[in-house]
């Protein structure tokens, strides 16, 4: 495909000279011309320009301003600019290069500049621009794919207020547009089954694994006789049955907390998830569900335990993944108690408005990250399940 070079100079003779020099050494290029900065902006808006050779002293809008506008623009900033000016002041050279010009030639051009250096630099600039365009297009496609994948992940999330016995409140913040955190909540046979899981790693691979976790979970709760630990054990066994890479690689390894509410009792089993927190409405107190177990998808023969906690109407369970406090430090596990302390301070908000509580707790951790000069590096998923009052 022919590439287009825009020559911006108010002197006709200079534009012709540059055109002559480049026509001799470059094939497959066409030229556009502009006599001031305004014309440059009009040209880039209407034509696909691959390189601009820019004079600095021009009427209406000079080259300095034109360069600034081009480099500030989201679409045109990618176009390489070579300055060709009679100004030989070092500050001018420094400033234009700082502003984003890729090179600077001083007029009049020497024979070497004309015959060798300028044509080669233009050739290189066109090549780099072509590669940058390919990268930009790939990036656009990846962003589009991420957006589609994220829509898919959002479709999979449980919808609030769909249940007879409980209300659910969720907040999900994937780190790369799509993430490996997963939660689900199902009402079945007069029971509520729910699960929060966190696939190792994040991004598209983790998101794909998370969608499979959902299938395993839904399959696992089909048998009404199974208790949470048996469901987890069954899911773990299925991973080894269905995936031949299971146990050898960490593509499908995750932590999970699985709960089942039957009547007014919560039955649960934990596979490496941070301890959920329960809010007792009658006493307005919080406590942690501190039971734990092995990771899912690593070893085929592992067993989990089911424990039970009686609940009352209005009591609620707060589940979250470690992305909330994690920065990749082992000491992050202190983050579990930090979540409890912050939740305890915000329990009034939790009682009044669980959605606001989830927003607040995320905000507090944003502030904590900011003060430690860290940031969210992982997906964050939070869910509150409240027994209807």
């Amino acid at each position: 495909m022919r590439q287009c070079i825009l020559i911006a100079d108010d002197a006709t003779l200079n534009r012709m000279l540059i055109k002559q020099i480049l026509t001799k050494s470059l094939t497959d290029v066409v030229f556009e011309e502009a006599v001031n900065g305004n014309e440059v902006m009009k040209k880039v808006a209407t034509k696909a320009i691959d390189l601009i050779i820019l004079d600095l002293i021009m009427p209406e809008m000079d080259g300095y301003e034109t360069l600034k506008r081009l480099k500030r623009h989201s679409k045109y900033s990618i176009i390489p600019v070579i300055v060709n000016s009679s100004i030989d002041d070092i500050h001018s050279i420094e400033n234009t290069l700082k502003d984003g010009a890729i090179d600077y030639f001083i007029k009049p051009l020497s024979p070497d500049d004309m015959n060798i250096i300028l044509p080669l630099k233009v050739k290189n600039a066109l090549l780099v621009h072509q590669q940058n365009q390919v990268i930009a297009e790939l990036n656009r496609q990846i962003q589009e794919e991420l957006k589609n994948a994220n829509t898919f992940v959002n479709i999979m999330l449980p919808k609030s207020d769909d249940f007879k016995a409980v209300e659910t409140f969720i907040k999900y913040q994937p780190s790369l547009g799509i993430g490996g955190d997963f939660f689900d909540c199902v009402e079945k046979d007069n029971r509520i089954y729910f699960m929060v899981a966190d696939v190792t790693g994040h991004g598209i691979a983790a998101g794909m694994a998370a969608s499979m976790v959902k299938i395993l979970f839904r399959k696992g709760i089909e048998d009404p006789l199974l208790r949470p630990h048996e469901i987890l054990e069954g899911m773990n066994h299925s991973i080894f049955e269905y995936f031949d890479f299971a146990g050898d690689d960490n593509y499908f390894v995750f932590t999970a907390f699985l709960g089942m509410i039957e009547g007014n009792v919560l039955y649960y089993a934990n596979a490496g998830q941070p301890y959920p927190i329960i809010y007792r409405e009658a006493s307005k107190t919080l406590f942690e569900v501190n039971q734990n177990g092995f990771l899912m998808g690593m070893i085929e023969e592992v067993s989990f335990e089911t424990e039970a906690i009686p609940l009352d109407a209005g009591d609620s369970i707060f589940l979250y993944t470690d992305g909330l406090f994690c920065t990749g430090e082992a000491a992050d596990f202190a983050g579990w108690s930090e979540v409890f302390d912050i939740a305890n301070n915000l329990k009034g908000v939790w009682y009044e408005n669980p959605t606001e509580f989830l927003d607040e707790i995320l905000y507090v951790f944003q502030l904590i990250h900011k003060s430690k000069k860290t940031f969210f590096t992982d997906d964050v998923a939070m869910m509150i399940i409240r027994l209807k009052r």
């Binding site: 966190d198 790693g201 050898d248 734990n292 177990g293 990771l295 070893i299 990749g328 082992a330 000491a331």
Partner: protein, 95 residues
Amino acid sequence: MKAIKFVIQDGLTANNVTMYKQQFERMIHSESQYEEMVLDLAETENIDSVGVTFVINVYKRLKSLDKHFRVEGASKDVQSLFKLMKLDQFFEMTD
């Protein structure tokens, strides 16, 4: 019991695990006369979930080779994490 030591010198996190996997494989192929491998975590401050899966994979690989596996020098935080995930059921941790 003849032991060989695998020292983790940096964070045991996702970005380093591929390198550690290669080092581990090279080590078990070049050494044959040993009965135990000690994973030395004394210099490791950072560990994430991918790092945890690496340790479990090392344990599993050595078990398949009929070798003993032990973690040594892990900080209190790392030890608590491993205990929380019930890894102490599978291998020993020493100071």
